[in-house]
């Protein structure tokens, strides 16, 4: 990837901010859905779709594309809005139809109905396994497509996740780059209280993974980490991205109660006010 100059960086931060604003609007319209995760992952979604990925929004089934597998399907408002901003489908459709009857934007992502969705997901713990299947298929066909598997920290409670971590390590699948949204919350509370996960780095390393750890809101760091992961040839890579759930909206940040609910009108108004203030700051810098 070309190095990120200041101008490009500012563009990316601005895009991430606009995506966050539209996520708030779409969740308000939907009346249900998840707020914290999509806001927390907006910088990573933006970096992937506007800087990293080999993809073509006008040809979503282009055979040479990189694939994003959203294992934690519930944060799909973030993915949907990023896909819309990237040009896969109209932003208006994303804002107005999420979770509505007949919509292409299902409550959890569904392959085949919406351009850019590579697999059906939602029930936690199966995205990495599906990524392995895709990685094996590409290897058999001697193709260079990469798979970016986005996972939550909470889904590391699930046995299926660890079955996949073990297998990807065994098979040395260097075409998989997993990115863990390490935001420390899940529905019932803080991850380390529900089911302690640490030391995650050691666990992955002992399963033959290359592990990187970054601030998931630092776009330069996200980009650099992915560049490093791409250069690792002997094993799959995991990027532990420390993120703030609800990032950009002070009353949502780090509050696990915002995991699974949308803002009401008053909260959305305040969230948009805060995000617009941040946007002005980015543009003035």
């Amino acid at each position: 990837m070309p190095h990120l100059n200041q101008k490009k960086l500012e563009e990316l931060y601005t895009t991430a901010n606009l995506i966050r604003q539209d996520i708030i609007k779409m969740l308000l319209n939907a009346g249900s859905g998840h707020s914290a995760g999509p806001l927390g992952m907006a910088d990573i979604f933006t970096t992937l779709y506007f800087h990293i990925l080999n993809h073509n929004p006008k040809k979503p089934l282009w055979p040479e594309r990189d694939m994003v597998i959203l294992s934690n399907g519930h944060i799909c408002p973030g993915l949907y809005m990023t896909l819309a901003h990237a040009g896969y489908f109209p932003i208006k459709e994303a804002i107005e139809t999420l979770r509505k009857l007949g919509s292409r934007l299902q409550g959890h992502p569904h392959r085949g109905v919406l351009p850019g969705i590579e697999t059906t997901s939602g029930p936690l713990g199966s995205g990495l396994s599906q990524s392995i299947g895709m990685a094996l298929a590409f290897n058999l066909d001697k193709k260079k497509n990469r798979i970016y598997c986005l996972m939550s920290d909470g889904e590391h409670n699930a046995g299926n996740t660890w079955e996949a971590i073990m297998l990807a390590g065994k098979l040395k699948l260097n075409n998989i780059i997993a990115i863990m949204d390490r935001n420390n919350i899940q529905i019932d509370g803080y991850t380390e209280e529900i089911m302690p996960l640490e030391p995650l780095r050691d666990k992955y390393e002992s399963f033959n993974w290359h592990v990187l750890e970054i601030d998931g809101h630092n776009i330069e760091a996200i980009s650099d980490a992915i560049d490093e992961a791409k250069a690792i040839y002997e094993k799959p890579s995991l990027i532990i991205a420390h993120t703030i759930p609800g990032k950009g909206v002070d009353f949502m940040e780090n509050e696990y109660s915002w995991h699974g609910k949308p803002p009401n009108e008053r909260e959305a108004k305040e969230a948009l006010r805060q995000l617009r203030t941040l946007q002005n700051k980015i543009e003035c810098e």
Binding site: E118, S121, P123, I132, G133, M134, L136, N160, A164, L167
Partner: protein, 331 residues
């Protein structure tokens, strides 16, 4: 009498009738399918030999993947391959896959419409001494309720091979139910096998009208044939329909056979609730209601024992089928 046009094994009623496990037919089928199509891959969960995948593994090393004792991973890795141009056949004991991996099969294979073929080995109580923990007797019911899923229950090793080869050619999720024990060979290579098309294996003697249709699938059809032959001696004439594809179900064949005979007995090595009998009843109750007796396992688990002992104890033997026929024709 055996239906001549089905070209069945003429030695089926001999004492020393040839028998083979259904899984052997799968093993031959997957090898042949693998030779024909390089997109076919096999995934196994630490049961390579007993699921008859060893020959494939040796012949196509790079297209065989050992997943370990992890059936949820087996299903979901299969899902990823199946949406990326491959045709994965995933093998385990039916109790574990589909048994343990239901949600993964539902979401990532069926809803996702991934091209995965699920081989449920060692299904039914006839797996024997291993006991109830290893006897999958709910799998047909569960698999047939999943949208996009097709369900095939072959009756012998030859049909299992045909089903395997057919599955390789049809896009989408397919569940094939296989059994461990040697099962009498009912069909021949010439017996027509078309997925979704049931066919008659037993007819009344020429000039006689059937008083009952036996509809079933799997190895237990052999017991149905024994029952039909014995009933024939007493001048009770039935038809037997091999309903090898449970889904999509052959409504036309079921309705037309019920119209001819006026009542039905269903047979399956599976729970009565939700299984083949239920599937047949779903068709007939709305299209052509007739009396039905269902031979199957009646809301219980199995146990350890020899296959023959279990088939008798759980009322899936010849005599149980005869009793069911006599009961339904008197109703």
């Amino acid at each position: 009498m055996l239906n001549g046009s089905a070209k069945l094994n003429k030695k089926i009623f001999l004492k020393n009738v040839a028998s083979r496990p259904l899984r052997d037919g799968y093993g031959e089928g997957i090898l042949e399918a693998g030779e024909k199509n390089e997109n076919i891959v096999v995934l196994c969960a630490d049961l390579t030999e007993s699921t008859r995948n060893l020959a494939f593994k040796e012949k196509f090393k790079n297209r065989f993947f050992e997943i370990g004792v992890a059936e949820q991973n087996l299903a979901t890795v299969g899902s990823g391959l199946g949406i990326t141009g491959k045709i994965p056949f995933i093998s385990s004991y039916a109790m574990f896959c589909p048994g343990r991996a239901l949600e993964q099969i539902r979401t990532t294979i069926c809803y996702n419409d991934s091209n995965v073929k699920i081989m449920g080995h060692h299904a039914g109580i006839s797996v024997g001494p291993d006991g109830a923990t290893h006897q999958a007797i709910e799998d047909i019911a569960i698999m047939r309720t999943l949208p996009n899923m097709k369900v095939i229950v072959p009756c012998d090793a030859i049909e299992a091979k045909k089903a395997t080869l057919a599955a390789a050619q049809i896009y989408g999720p397919i569940y094939i139910r296989l059994a461990r024990e040697k099962t009498p060979i009912i069909t021949t290579a010439d017996t027509p096998f078309i997925p979704g098309k049931a066919y008659t294996i037993w007819n009344p003697k020429i000039g006689k009208k059937p008083v009952c249709t036996i509809i079933g699938a799997g190895g237990v059809l052999y017991n149905a044939l024994l029952a039909a032959k014995e009933l024939e001696k007493d001048n009770i004439h039935v038809s037997i329909l091999n309903l090898h594809t449970i889904k999509p179900i052959d409504k036309k064949a079921i309705i037309s056979s019920a119209q001819k005979s006026g009542c039905v007995v269903t047979v399956e090595e599976h729970q009565i609730m939700g299984g083949i009998g239920s599937a047949v009843a779903e068709v007939l109750s709305s299209e052509y209601p007739v009396k039905i007796e269902m031979v199957g396992i009646n809301d219980s688990f199995g146990e350890s024992g020899t296959p023959a002992e279990l088939i008798t104890k759980y009322n899936l033997d010849k005599n149980s089928i005869i009793t069911a026929v006599l009961k339904v024709i008197k109703k």
